[in-house]
Every structure is written in C-alpha cells, then in structure tokens.
C-alpha cells in the first residue's frame, strides 16, 4: 500500500483530535463531578436551599465544562480540516495542536470545578451571601480557564500558521515541542488558579464584609499561579516562530523537543504550588481581613521562590533553543540534549509543589498570628531553600549534559 503525505497529515489530524478531546475531557469531568459531590453534601446539610444550590452547581459546571468545549472545538476543526496537498510538516503541527489543547484543558477543567464546589458549600453555610458567592465563583472559574485559553491560542496557531517554509527536519520537533510545552505547562496552572478561586468563594460566605479584599487577593494569587503556563506559552511561541532552516537538523531536533519538555514539565509543580499558597492566602484574608497586607506580601514572596524551578526549566529551554549545535548524527549527542530537557522538566515538579506547601503553611500561620510575620517568613525561606535543592541538582545535571558531554 502506498501512503501519500496527505494521508499521513489526515491521520495526524485525526490523532490530534483524539488527543484534544480525550485529554480535555479528563479535567472538565473531574471538576464537574467534584462540584456535584459538594453540592450533594451541601443539600443534605440544608435541604431547604436545594433550589439555589442546584442552580449554582449547574452554572459552575457549565463554566468548568468550557475547557472541554474548547477541546471539542479544536477537535472538530482537526477532524474536518482540509488536508489535500498539505506537506508532511503539517502532520506534526496537527498532532501538536491536539496535545496543546487537550493537555491544557485538564488543569483548567479540574481547577474551575473547585470554585463551583465551594460555592455550593458556601450557599449552604451562609445563604444571604448567595449573590456575592455566585459572582465570585464566576470570576474565579473564568480566571481558571485562562491556561486552557492559552492552550487554544497555541493550538490555533499550530493549525493555521503556514509552516511550509520550515524544513521538515528539525521543525517537526519544534512543532511537537510547542504543543507539549504549552499543554503540559497549563496543567499545573489550571489546577493552581482553581484552588484560590475555591477558597475565596468559601471565604466570602465566612466573611462577607471583606468581599473586596478577598476577591482582590484571589485575583492576584491566581494570576501569579498562571505564570508557569505563560512561560510554557512563551517557549511554544519561540518554537513556532523561529526560523529553523539554518541549523543542522541533527542533533537540533532533540534540543527543540527537549526545550518543550523542560519548560512544560517543570511548570506543573510551581503552578500547583503557587495555587496552594494563594488558596491559603485567600482563606487567611477571609479569616482575618486586617492581616491582608502581610498575607499578600508573604504570599507573593513565597510564590516567587516556589516559581524558581520553572525559571530553571525556562533557562534550560533557552539554552537548548539558542545554542548553535555542532552537526552530528552520534546517538550520544541527541540523547544528551533530550535528556537535559527531561531531567530539568521532571526535576522541577517536586520542588515547585513542596515550596508551595511551605509557603502555604507560612501564610496560614500569619493569618492566625500576624505578629510572627517576620519569623514565619524567615522559616519559610529557609525551608524552601532546602526543598529547592533537588531542583538545583536537576539543573546541574542538565547543564552537565548540555555543556560537558
């Protein structure tokens, strides 16, 4: 049987569509299920409020669903895209588009389930604040959709930007890497922006008078949790729009794939970690509104430190993208480049979450005892520095693989 390029492109588009909806459905379904579960619990606590709780659950689920709908839209476009006469490079673009959209929808779907769930609980706890709770839930869910929207932007560019001027080698790895970088990086940030959205919604029920302070704190905390996804998007853009025609195909393709994996994987941890910190901060402001100043400051310091592993990942990506490789077909060369990316990528996950937990507890204690602000911040920084060390080991091994081997 003879395969033309167009058939491969068509097959890749179908596979991309499957990745998009397949992965994309995971997050939305989990998030909606969690919301429904918490709604059931809230209704059993105060059955007389079943009407408003049910209505709220449905609205929250509808917003959580939108991550899945983005994935569906991209999948529809991929299924019906016209592949006649398209070059083979588009096969990798479509595959990358599916991965970018599908993976990025996981985090956002799950993340926007949190505010929906906590809103049901909040209405049962404090029915008169229903309007404020619903508004906050909508804002929080919309913010949690941001990483999925980034994934969709990259997927859309992969599908509709013309890559015919790029050589198949090594550009295929760049396109696949762009999809992986964006998709993976958005997972953590999606979950991470959902956590503060959820705890701020519950906080609104606890302390309606501090609504503005809680909402502002949530917006800042969620926005910072999205920084890792933004790094993923920046790397994806560089992979998409740099001209690869003047570089040696071997071993550059491995560097490009490694660049995508490095930032993509290492962004998962800091995204979740930052979200944990921001969640405790939103809860802390609701508990003790007058501590808003020290809580926000400590949250921002803790988040900045927790973000350092994704900055390492970004650094390794930049080195992989911009250092000119010597042409070589030797297996050791390309495996070393790919391994550098994988090493930093996986190595960044743990420290990001760990440092986020350290910062979350510091913020939590400051919300209970403002006077210990300085001491708690110092303990947090020392603890974070120690849990950072494994991330630094990964960075060292990555740099060794890049420059010594």
């Amino acid at each position: 049987m003879e395969f033309s390029d167009a058939i491969w492109v068509q097959a890749a588009a179908f596979l991309g569509a499957a990745f998009s909806v397949g992965f994309g459905a995971i997050g939305a379904a989990l998030g909606e299920g969690y919301a429904a579960g918490r709604a059931g619990r809230a209704i059993s606590k105060s059955p007389e409020l079943s009407g408003p709780i049910l209505k709220n659950m449905l609205i929250g689920q509808a917003v959580a669903e939108s991550a899945g709908i983005f994935a569906l839209v991209i999948a529809m476009l991929l299924v019906f895209i016209d592949t006649d006469g398209r070059p083979l490079i588009d096969a990798f673009a479509y595959l990358g588009a599916g991965l970018s959209m599908g993976l990025s929808a996981i985090g956002s779907g799950l993340g926007s389930g949190f505010p929906a769930a906590e809103a049901c609980q909040g209405i049962a706890d404090n029915p008169p604040t229903q309007a404020a709770i619903s508004t906050n839930m909508l804002i929080g869910s919309a913010i949690s959709q941001t990483p999925a929207i980034f994934g969709m932007v990259v997927a859309f560019m992969l599908m509709f930007v013309d890559f015919t001027s790029q050589p198949l080698w090594p550009a295929w790895a760049a396109l696949l890497g762009a999809g992986l970088s964006m998709g993976l990086a958005a997972i953590g940030s999606g979950v991470g922006s959902g956590i503060p959205a959820g705890s701020s919604t519950l906080g609104m029920a606890r302390q309606p008078s501090a609504a503005t302070a809680i909402r502002t704190n949530m917006l800042i905390g969620s926005a910072v949790s999205q920084t890792p996804a933004i790094f993923g998007m920046v790397v994806a853009f560089m992979l998409l729009f740099i001209d690869w025609s003047n570089v040696p195909p071997w071993p550059t393709w491995a560097a490009l794939l490694g660049a995508g994996l490095s930032t993509g994987l290492s962004a998962i941890g800091p995204g979740i970690g930052n979200g944990l910190t921001a969640g405790e901060a939103a809860e802390g402001v609701a508990r003790q509104p007058e501590a808003q100043g020290p809580i926000t400051t400590t949250m921002l310091i803790g988040q900045t430190v927790a973000q350092s592993t994704v900055i390492y990942g970004f650094l390794v990506s930049l080195i992989l993208l911009f250092i000119q490789q010597e042409p070589s077909h030797a297996m050791t060369e390309w495996v070393a480049l790919l391994s550098a990316g994988i090493c930093m990528g996986f190595g960044g996950i743990g420290p990001g979450i760990g440092e986020g937990i350290a910062a979350a507890y510091a913020v939590r204690r400051i919300a209970r005892d403002m006077s210990q602000n300085v001491l708690l911040t110092r303990v947090m920084l020392v603890g974070q520095a120690v849990s950072e060390s494994t991330g630094i080991y990964s960075l060292i091994v990555s740099l060794l693989l890049l420059f010594v081997i």
Binding site: T227, I230, S308, A385
Partner: protein
Amino acid sequence: MEDLTIVPKWILTLGGYTLEFNSETLIMSWIVMGILIFFGWIATKKISILPGPYQTLAEVMVATFEQLVADALDEGNRHYFPLIITIFLFIWLSNMLGVIPFLSEPTKDLNTPLAYGILGFFIAHYAGIKTKGFKAYASEYVQPMFFMAPLNIIGELSKVVSISFRLYGNIMGGSIIIMVVSHLVYNLVLPPLLNAFFGIFVGTIQAFVFTMLTLVYISVQTK
C-alpha cells in the same frame, strides 16, 4: 480562518531602516484614546455639587480606584493613582472594543500589553529606588543569599513577560473562540453570549488583573 494570523501593516523606510506599524492596532488605540479624552472632557465640562450623569460615573470610578490605591500603597506613593486608573480605563476600553462589529481589541496585539508591562516595570523600579534609596533597593537582589542574584533578576524580568502575555493570551484566545464557534454555528444564537462572556466579562476581569498586578509590583518595590 487564517485572517487572525495576518496583521495589516504600514511600512515606512527611513534612512535605510524599515519601520513596520501594525495599522489596525494603532487605529484602534487612537479610537480608545479618543473615547477616553472625550469622556474626560464631557465629565468635567460642568462640574457642580449636583453631578450630572457623566460626572457621577467619573466620580464613582475615581473613588473606587482611589480606595484600591490607598489600600495598597503607603502615604508617600499615592501619587501613582492617576497612572493606575489610566491603565485600567485604557485596557478595559480596549478589551470592550472587540464587542463592537468591525472594531478589534488593540490588546489582541502583543505589542500593546508589552508596552504597558514595560511601563509598569520601569515605574515600579523607579518608585522602589526613590522610596528606599539605591543601596536598599540593590541589596534586595542578593536576598536571601548572594548567589541568588541572577535568579532574582530573571524573576523580576519574568514579571514583565507574565503580565503582558496573560492579557494578550486571554484577549487573543477570546477572539479566536468567538470567531471559530460563530463560524461553526453559522453566526446563529451563540455569538452574543460568547461576546458577553469572553468580550465583556473576561475582558473586564483581565483589565482589572493587569491593573492590580501593576499596583502590587509598585507596592512590593516600595515596601
């Protein structure tokens, strides 16, 4: 559907250098500026104790943002309030522009958010040096240990990247989903709802997030 990736340009050759201007972004920014200047003029034309509708609107906005700035900044740095409210109004109005047919958001072009991100970055650092003095400002970069300096510098620079790409990604993503879904449903029923959610709702939230982050960056530097 490729029309989102094509940018209309004015090309100008000046002494051997080719300058490219994104014409759509520029024209839309001028429209936003025109609306803002017109609103400022009409709201302050007849200032009276019994305010007219435009004056009331302006007073509500000024009072809200004055409170936000007062919460975030110390007494000596309150003069950044006009900057903060201007950034919000410009970005908010820019995001709203996409809802109107034939107009598009200037914030959909990365250059606009990036310009505001860089502006906020320099103002925050200027405010930091002015409030704390250069020595205290510089010593923050070697916290908690001296070898963290490169990391701190990258961390500071990454703020510009993250603040501007967040706005750009949201607005660009919103316009893509509006365009693609409207196309898929033959412009029936859904487009107004999509415009309400991605245009008005997300646009307002993102304008507010951008403004609050600029404010927080200034407040972190000055404390």
